[in-house]
Amino acid sequence: MKLMLKYLKKYRLISILAPLFKMAEALLELFVPVVVKNIIDVGIAGGDTAYIVKCAALLALLALVGLSFSVTAQYFSARAAVGFSADLRADLFAHVAGFSYAKIDRMGTSALLTRLTSDTDLAQNGVNLTLRLLLRSPFVVFGAVLMSFTVDAKSAAVSAVAVPVLGLVIAGVMAATMPLYKRVQEKLDGVLGHVRENLSGVRVIRAFSKERAQTEAFAEKNDALFSVSFFAGKISSLLNPVTYILINLATVLLIYTGALRVNGGALSQGAVVALYNYMAQILVELIKLVNLVVTVSRALAGAKRIEAVLAERTDMTYPDPGAQPDFTAPAVEFAGVTLCYGDNADASLSDVSFSVPGGSLGVIGATGAGKSSLIDLIPRFYDATAGEVRLFGHNVKDYAAETLQSLVAVVPQKAVLFSGTLRENLRWGNENASDDELLAALRMAQAYDFVSAKGEGLDLMIEQGGRNLSGGQKQRLTVARALVKRAPILILDDSYSALDAATEKAMREALKAAGARLTVTVSQRTGSVAGCDEILVLEDGVLTARGDHETLLGASPAYAFIAKCEEGGEGVA
């Protein structure tokens, strides 16, 4: 609710005007029974044909003015509702984009996706209908009750009792169904997650001939969704008939008391007709309102889920303006750094300390030894659980986000490109890079040849996820993307894995000349890091040795073992 109001603020004027125009229209409608009463009590009773024609013309005029009011209201409410949801979606997107890696891990991608799509749509629907109808209906209902009182207070008491009773019923059903609709959206998350996973894993699924099992698993999730939505629907289905019964029984009562009062001479026939007409209006409006209740419950359920995401404060804050890097200080320093991904998880890095002035740094270790954890701390993708990470003399937490961004360029392990032209993708590193700079980066990353072979140069269209490129091509482009940035620290996270030997060698040579102050190379192979000035050896999250290749061969049994394995692997030749 709060959320809705916050985002409607920008559309305050039109979102107030919309219901006002609706009310104005409703007000005109409330005059209709009065006019009809006059037709009966004055026109018919007095046999005044001209009066009747005048009244009918008045009815038509009321309709025309009402039409212009309601069209205006619809326009305003469409603008407000769509504007609301577009703003909300944009903010939500920006908010989610601000999440730390840890938060992304925890929230899950498909849950975030439904917030941005289906939940926002639901909220938009809710706002639109609220502006259009939700306020109009109570207004008409209360207006009709009030008008009934002006006709005859005693008879009007019937509707004065019936309406609050109905209000209670509606509130009750809403309270009961809202949690259900929240569950419906949760089940929808499950369905979406399953489809998404299936689309990304289609090759493996088919290779294992698991189509049937997948379909069954999907059917199960789908069934769960069906049951909850059916159950929620069943409860909502009560609203309409209950409203119908209550209002009609109230009408029965109204006519009966009316009959007695007319018999007693306290009321005219026309008055009873007017009272009856007001009751009929109440019925029509309430049925409309009740049909809205479902939409509004769903909208509120969606809004609640969005609110929960927006309430997730990003757990990383950056100072502003922040520290300025001291380029005379060591490029990277770790002081007693420990990192745990969850509250109860084992440490992925324990008490790691080292300092490198610059040059080239290798990081080596077995799978799961903590190599990625270590380098993820340098650009502050995660915050250390304990200890301090320093870049150029300052704790990473003391830098503004942009400063940190400009200091470190990363080639992630997984080569991900985005749909768009190659130029757009490469400019991620530097928005203002010239084509010449981009081409130079492509050359260094050994990507120039295959790019020019495709004949489209920097305008080469890259499809979603880089599907039109091979693994090795993608990897080289991600290296080029990082090079465009010309950051003082360049991190290559196992970025040679999909490259053939010749390409890897050429790229290593080119990177040496790229001129980064510190190049960090993460690898599983001593071959890829042997040329580094210094190499860190990680074992189970602990820094067990450091030194250059020659030193480590003697000092680190783990390093020597890896090197020996490689020899063994290639020595057969």
Partner: protein, 588 residues
């Protein structure tokens, strides 16, 4: 978003397709129809009874209270029956809508299982996702509205007219004459809004695709500080959706005021002709009570038009969404197994590619004259520079894509004549793109052999050296991995994929750059386990590391879709060609 110039209509036959999805529920729909009819009929009859009551309330001392009482008690009974009808109809409509939604999603999902890879590779997954999730939902909303309001609307209109004719011909004629105005308004609005809804649905699909891409790769995005740029890209499509939605919503929301206006005119007309009727100027025999009933009917008469027109608007939207879903459901499936396709038992593992030709873009040649023979138990390696077509060969061997020419034979039988299931069942595959499902480690490992015992699974995990890290996970083999393998490292994911293939125990193995993310120490252990496993089995390795392929019986060197050299490691070195060059560059 390219704007489609041509006039868009729901594709012909959309309604027919819809009926097909409704057929299983025709019994329930009939029940709902009957209940709606009872409810709508009684809703008309009850005001008539009320009108008769009002006629009895003429003036002081002249009221037949007994008569009024009797009629009202009778009305009360009918009110309860009518409400019951409304409830049953609502429940059934709800059930049918939810069931059709479920059926549609299941059908869409089943189709995704048989769509050719070329379709899935060329359509943004976000758009497909949007069809299965959002479009189905919107369709359901429209359908429900259609059920609940369309039937009763039609019945109400017919009933109202019938009753009005009984009350007064002139009143009824007024209403009939004004009806075309209602229809015209409804039609005009529905027609416009359909077009806008279509644009809105397409834009929504585009927005989902952008969202999927950014949120799905959020970490990469953040690594480059591209949050703001992504937000701009998102913002552009979002603005497009905003413009499309505003128009669609505004135009469709005109239907209510529009018909309400026409209705008010009808009301005024009825008041005029009715009042004149009571006076005897027009026809005669009309009473004030009947006039009240007639006005009540006039009020209700416009309501169903309101509803039907809003149903039309919603249905247009729903049909647009429905046609997007059925477009997916009806997309041509991958080439089915030939009718006489044989289900291969355990293959010996003789793989031969003979003069194979293939290209993704049929206007450009890619793979051509591809010949490779791998005898049972042999190990073959495919090497070559990036983008030379190595991965494509796997797509062809697994029949993810169909070849354009030549033949691929397994044990002498063309794979086009073998059921896909048995073909793929015979081939174990480990790809570089590690994919694990959001399930426990155990469920992931036994993917290829659901009947494997715990002992077998653990034995396989030990052989691939995955056991030690699995053991250390919070719940061991029962740890749920989360989306995309959760927080496992790339290497750990790879180890699980290898174990998965190991446990499946196939006679033919395909390894696509499979060991590139594992450290060499582990890789050598895995390699040893593979060596053990591959005795007497066929192995096809696509790799960049020459060290991992040099023991192979045959090495095929690819360049631009063709095999340019073929032979053993020693023979190729001797030849002094492309391979020898690669090997030499590696040594430095």
């Amino acid at each position: 978003m390219p704007e489609k110039k041509k006039k868009q209509k729901a594709p012909k036959g959309t309604v027919k397709k819809l009926l097909r999805f409704l057929r299983p529920y025709r019994g329930r729909l009939l029940l709902s129809l009957v209940c709606s009819a009872v409810n709508a009929g009684l809703s008309l009859y009850i005001p008539l009874l009320f009108g008769r009551c009002i006629d009895l309330i003429t003036g002081a001392g002249q009221v037949d209270t007994e008569g009024v009482k009797q009629k009202l008690i009778f009305s009360a009974g009918l009110i309860l029956v009518s409400a019951l009808g409304a409830y049953l109809a609502a429940v059934e409509n709800n059930r049918v809508t939810a069931a059709v939604t479920k059926d549609l999603r299941n059908a869409a999902f089943r189709k995704i299982q048989v769509l050719p890879l070329s379709f899935l590779d060329s359509h943004p997954s976000g758009d497909t996702l949007s069809r299965v999730v959002n479009d189905v939902d919107r369709f359901a909303d429209g359908l429900l509205l259609g059920f609940t309001q369309f039937f009763s609307g039609v019945i109400t209109i017919a009933g109202t007219l019938a009753l009005l004719f009984r009350i007064s011909r002139f009143v009824a004629l007024t209403v009939v004459l004004l009806t075309p105005l209602s229809l015209l308004t409804a039609h005009l609005i529905a027609h416009r809004s359909f077009r806008y809804f279509q644009r809105q649905a397409a834009t929504r699909g585009a927005l989902t695709a952008v969202t999927e891409e950014s949120i799905g790769n959020l970490k990469t995005l953040k690594a480059f500080g591209q949050e703001a740029a992504a937000a701009r890209k998102f913002g552009a499509v979002n603005a497009e959706l905003k413009a499309a939605s505003q128009k669609a919503i505004f135009i469709s929301s005109l239907s209510n005021p529009g018909t309400r206006f026409v209705n008010a005119l009808v009301y005024a007309g009825v008041a005029l002709t009715g009042a004149l009727g009571v006076l005897g100027v027009l026809g005669g025999g009309l009473t004030v009570g009947l006039l009240t009933s007639a006005l009540g009917f006039a009020n209700q008469y416009t309501k169903p038009f309101n509803e039907i027109s809003s149903v039309f608007a919603e249905m247009q939207n729903a049909l647009t969404c429905f046609s997007r879903v059925t477009a997916l459901i009806e997309a041509p499936a991958e080439q089915p197994d030939a009718p006489d396709a044989i289900a291969l038992g355990r293959a010996a593992g003789d793989v031969e590619l003979r003069d194979v030709a293939f290209s993704y873009d049929k206007s450009k040649e890619f793979i051509k004259d591809f010949n490779l023979r791998v005898k049972p138990g042999q190990k073959a390696a495919i090497v070559g520079t990036t983008g030379c077509g190595k991965t494509t060969v796997i797509n062809l061997l697994m029949r993810f894509y169909e070849i354009d020419g030549g033949e691929i034979l397994l044990d002498g039988t063309p794979i086009s004549q073998i059921t896909k299931r048995s073909l793929r069942g015979n081939v174990g595959m480990v790809l570089q793109d590690t994919w694990l499902k959001n399930a426990t480690v155990r469920e992931n490992l036994t993917e290829g052999r659901p009947d494997a015992t715990d002992e077998e699974m653990i034995a396989a995990a030990k052989r691939t050296h995955a056991h030690s890290f699995i053991k250390r996970l919070p719940q061991g083999y029962d740890t749920v991995l989360g989306e995309d393998g959760g927080s496992l490292s790339q290497g750990q994911k790879q180890l699980l994929c290898i174990t998965r293939a190991m446990l499946a125990d196939p006679n033919i193995l395909i390894l696509d750059e499979a060991t590139s993310s594992i450290d060499l120490a582990t890789e050598i252990k895995v390699q040893r386990a593979f060596d053990e496993l591959t005795v007497g089995r066929t192995c096809i390795i696509v790799a960049h590391r020459l060290s991992t392929v040099m023991h192979c019986d045959v090495i095929a060197v690819m360049d631009r879709g063709r095999i340019i050299e073929q032979g053993t490691h020693a023979a190729l070195l001797e030849k002094g060609g492309f391979y020898a060059n690669l090997w030499a560059s590696r040594k430095n």
